[in-house]
Amino acid sequence: MSDSSDKNNDNKLNDKPPADAGQVEASEAEINLAAVGRLKGSYSIFSSVMAIVTGLLVGLIILMISNPANAGQGLLTILKGGMTGSVSGFGRAVATSIPIIMTGLSVAFAYKAGLFNIGASGQFMIGGVCAVFVAIKGTMIPDSVLWLVCMLAAMAGGAIWGSVPGLLKAYFKVNEVITSIMMNYIGMYLTKIIIERTIYDSRYARAQAVPLRARIPTLGLDTRFPGANLNISLLLCIIFCVIIFIISSRTVFGFELTAVGLNPDASRYAGINSKRTVVIAMIGAGALAGIGAFMMYLGGTGVYMDTKEIVAAQGFNGIPVSLLAMNHPIGVFFTGLFIGHITIGGENLQLFGYSKEIIDMIIAVIIYCAAFSLIFKQLLHRIIKSRSKFKTEKPGGPGPQGPGRYARPEETEVIS
């Protein structure tokens, strides 16, 4: 039992440095600590970059196998991503990024509390249908605040959907992975039912179009970058990332959240209400995923809610976004943009006769490498730790009682 919890800690251990870095900066007093934090932070970025480079190299190999002549051109296209052609490409990349930044943030937030939110898709769909429903049916709501009301509806919908696995986890110890996957399917069919019963456009077999007045404000971005289809969503994304970062690294709640994620037993012992913390983490994660859907469907990018029986991919794509960012809320913003960017690049590959699925393979390889880099880092960490432990130990007392990771206190002599 204690072993398994230890192991959990282990897995989380290496995802934490960014958060620590954050806490560090929060305590301006300690320069020394900040330096340590920065060091860890840069190391995390390094491993993410390594993963990306490896992924792209594998991509190049795939391109060379399928059509060697255009391989170089193809890779360049991927790298250029949304930067090809006009601003419209940029707009497409941003539009692709926004929902996955939010679902990535959702996954990262839940992970703080030690939860794996694989249910972001369900929360995303429910959030989306809530937002679209309010946008279409909320005729009595004034134009100026309609988009905001829609966002709140999306948050509420996602939050409710996230709370179910949270409650089951906290009070009945049901694994959140299983329940949130199930909630994805329930969410998918529920979305279908709601759309078909209330806001159905039978001509196209999808939800009705979102009225213009419910669109997310553009603040003039649309006239400055014509054709890019921009609105304030990206700005909101930044704000949400920063808010989540501050909550998790600087607040009392964040302290509790991280404590529960790192060691639930010690948190309980310390009087932290871990049940409540778990539920709030899942509610927050759900709300974030819901907002992602709101941004996608009310952004005026021509995406409609449909009634195909497919679980929204944006939720699942949040997992690699979060993983690549080592679950760091600010990092999620950049990895989300990156994944969106190369996804558009991948679509442009078709110009050279490649199938666009190649980009999915490349993304998959990047994620694999990111996961491997985690394992690698963990290994490295363990070696460094065990060495430094003996080093620091030696002058102190008559040897290390500091038990190895899996050693129980009485067994410590084994490693001495």
Partner: protein, 510 residues
């Protein structure tokens, strides 16, 4: 002089830059009991693990029966006739005794187990060495002492001639220890050679022929036990003279601070309660110990008292207020401190900094937060003060990760956090487990200081020395019940042992 069966010469074993065993020479004669004495971390277990093939040594040679030997794994050790009883028994709980003994060494003919023959041999061996145990009983049904006998039988079944006992008495009652000592002597008389790892001097004096003392990985001395004293051995072990007795002044006992009445905790999937009708009182200025063999409901009792798992029946009072239904946080605020048994599971968040760990029970107080935001600078300030005052050593001070601290310093951090809160009742469970003599002295001193200041201390310990030394009153727990309430001045380890083994029982009333 009989010949050496094992000659380990100039053995050095390093872990990274740390030298766990440094140029140690150890010889074992045929038919002798050779004790290996040293503090935690002195390298005793590492040395025998080298012999047992679990670790590869960097330097030195091993000769077994006069021939150079290379041991790469425990199977090699077994081929050389070396067997080991580990500190934690390696037994499968739902196997029978017989099955456990033959596991890995099954007598078979044409791929078919020959259980009858095995049974016969086991009975034969157990009679010859007087190791009474029922071969058909299930491991989970027999006592810890009997489980140890199964481990010994395992070695004998494999015809091992060299037997290693790694801290075998840690889990036994005094009576079981006596029995084990007799068994070891008998084995030595039969010509077996025994390595006996321990840090208990009286056991060495009772049973060992020679003793090799290790300190910080180095060989300090090899002595004939008959020609040395406990004082000399302990001085060699620690490197300085130690006062094993704790100075305890007289403090007037105050009012009842903490008590519980008819507390019961159910055990999952069992009719029998883990804790059954326990009532106890702790007064101000008093250390009350709960003695007993591990697993007799102590953990469950502490979980109930501290609120980790609520009791199924009974009441708990702190300063006269019924706190039975209170949450952990409420109890903490009301003046309860808890030094938990498992410091890595409950006591610390290993991936939090030392500073964060030091405020784990107080982070929400106004001095550490402002409108929901953590005040990290005051936390660091406070942590530095505690680190200074409680002498918590680490490589990076307050910003060191909990994981990077040694066990002793981890425990000091917990003690610092719990004692600085100025609680009325301190519940300490095995507070010095796995610590070295220096840290033990320190933590015991801190507990006594609390008592002298008029705090109530409830100490749960499996170590009789600790119980006898520190307590003002001793309660003995057996199978979930308090079976004795004793004055340490008027009892001895023998009597305690009888209560601990359930051989004696008195009506305990509060």
């Amino acid at each position: 002089m009989s010949k050496n069966v094992i000659e380990m010469d100039n053995i050095t074993k390093r872990f990274g830059s740390f030298t766990a065993v440094d140029d140690v020479t150890f010889h074992l004669r045929k038919g002798e009991i050779h004790a290996l004495l040293g503090e935690n971390g002195a390298g005793k277990t590492t040395l025998v693990n080298v012999l047992f093939g679990l670790y590869a040594h960097e330097e030195g040679t091993i000769k077994i029966n006069g021939e150079f030997a290379t041991l790469n794994n425990p199977n090699d050790a077994n081929d050389y006739g070396i067997g080991m009883v580990h500190q934690h028994f390696m037994l499968v709980h739902n196997f029978t005794v017989l099955e456990s003994i033959i596991l890995g060494y099954e007598p078979a003919r044409g791929g078919i187990l020959n259980m009858r023959e095995a049974h016969k041999r086991v009975v034969e061996i157990s009679e010859r060495y007087k190791l009474a145990v029922d071969p058909d009983a299930e491991i989970s049904e027999i006592t810890v002492g009997q489980q140890q006998r199964v481990e010994i039988l395992k070695m004998l079944f494999r015809d091992n001639e060299i037997l290693i006992f790694d801290e075998p008495t840690a889990v036994l009652t005094p009576q079981e220890i006596d029995e084990l000592m007799k068994i070891m002597s008998r084995l030595a008389d039969e010509g077996k050679s025994i390595i006996f790892i321990t840090h208990k001097l009286n056991e060495i004096q009772e049973v060992a022929d020679r003793v090799t003392i290790l300190r910080k990985g180095k060989h300090v001395a090899t002595l004939d036990v008959a020609e040395t004293t406990a004082g000399e051995m302990s001085e060699l072990m620690v490197g300085r003279a130690v006062d094993l007795e704790v100075e305890k002044g007289y403090v007037k006992r105050g009012d009842v601070v903490f008590s519980c009445e008819y507390l019961a905790v159910k055990r999952e999937l069992s009719e029998k309660n883990a804790v059954h009708n326990v009532s106890l009182e702790v007064h101000a200025g008093e250390i009350v110990s709960i003695a007993g063999v591990d697993g007799n409901g102590q953990s469950e009792l502490v979980y109930a008292l501290t609120g980790i798992t609520p009791p199924d029946a009974g009441k708990i009072f702190l300063n006269g207020v019924d706190i039975s239904k209170w949450s952990i946080r409420q109890r903490t605020k009301a003046g309860m401190a808890h030094i938990p048994e498992d410091r890595q599971r409950f006591g610390l968040i290993l991936d939090y900094s030392l500073a964060n760990n030091l405020v784990l029970q107080t982070y929400y107080e106004p001095r550490f937060q402002k409108r929901g935001f953590m005040r990290f600078s005051s936390i660091l300030e406070y942590a530095d003060e505690l680190i200074e005052r409680f002498d918590i050593r680490s490589s990076e001070g307050a910003t060191s990760m909990g994981r990077a601290l040694s066990g002793g310093n981890q425990q000091k951090a917990i003690v610092a956090r719990e004692l600085d809160r100025d609680a009325d009742i301190i519940i300490a469970v095995q507070p010095v487990r796995g610590l070295d003599v220096g840290a033990i002295e320190y933590i015991h001193g801190q507990l006594l200081e609390q008592r002298d200041e008029g705090k109530a201390v409830l100490l749960v310990s499996f170590e009789l020395d600790e119980v006898m030394n520190l307590s003002d009153r001793i309660l003995v727990m057996y199978e979930g019940e308090i079976v004795a309430d004793l004055d340490p001045e008027q009892t001895d380890e023998r009597e305690l042992g009888l209560y601990m083994a359930g051989k004696k029982k008195e009506a305990v009333h509060v």
